[in-house]
Symmetry: C2
Subunit: 133 residues, 2 copies
DNA sequence: CCCAATTTGTACGTATGTATA
DNA sequence: TTATACATACGTACAAATTGG
């Protein structure tokens, strides 16, 4: 029974404890990239918390870029994508921030995926990296 | 009255409409960087929605890195920080992702701030940028 | 230093909508 | 069509942090 790992008196918010537990399963590989998570209803019963608490935990993990959700289907562990390498030209500078809604739409980005900014162009951070030759 | 801008039949979720409205005020400068937002209670009345809807909108804006919240105090428009420039050495590669909880703690990062990764080191994306000389 | 008001955070509930299988 | 699952939106209550008197 996994619910033993959740403490209502630890001082740490329940949803963060749930997020920690699920994150650990993802990092350890117990939940493989691309695999489906249990339903929110199931998780709520497993950890003996309300569904809202599970939703908060999932939202937190989405923000970390660890899971992705879509309506009507169970959430999924985000698969690691390979990044295309782009060489920085002389004088170019790269930085990162979260995408605007328009950029999320344009690049088809889920939650928890930043963009890399070079000049006036943005690149999805899960598909690009920048290097110096 | 701003509530006119919120439509319950537009098909777009109310919290996204609220987020859009507040984001526009931030981008336009009507809400200056560093300034305090109205309380959630006030916003709920202003837009004539539940507090939960306002909270969802705020969480969305936090995820975008536009606002920051702390318990007991009103949310604040994130101030633009200046980024320290670091030169990439030959062969180095930089990419970005969301921080782990440990990295958030170590760097004192709020929501919606990615980290830049170079080798086995991470740099807060709101305080660093990488360039090629 | 303490107290009260304010504000956000957490957690529960219910109901309904919408996408997927 | 039906069942399942996540999304949205309302409500309530209390906890915890901050501010200011």
């Amino acid at each position: 029974m996994v619910a033993d790992m959740i403490s209502r008196s630890s001082g740490l918010a329940l949803y963060l404890q749930v997020a920690d537990a699920i994150r650990q399963k993802i990092i350890s590989g117990e939940m493989a990239p691309g695999s489906l998570l249990p339903s929110e209803k199931y998780l709520a019963e497993e950890y003996d918390v309300g569904r809202d608490t599970i939703r908060d935990a999932m939202a937190y993990l989405r923000g970390e870029g660890l899971v992705e959700s879509k309506r009507g289907y169970r959430s999924r562990v985000r698969a690691n994508t390979s990044r295309e390498r782009v060489w920085l030209h002389q004088g170019e500078v790269v930085w990162a921030r979260m995408p605007t809604p328009q950029e999320k739409k344009d690049h088809g980005l889920g939650d928890g995926v930043p963009v890399l900014v070079v000049g006036d162009r943005t690149y999805p951070a899960d598909r690009f990296e920048f290097g110096r030759e």
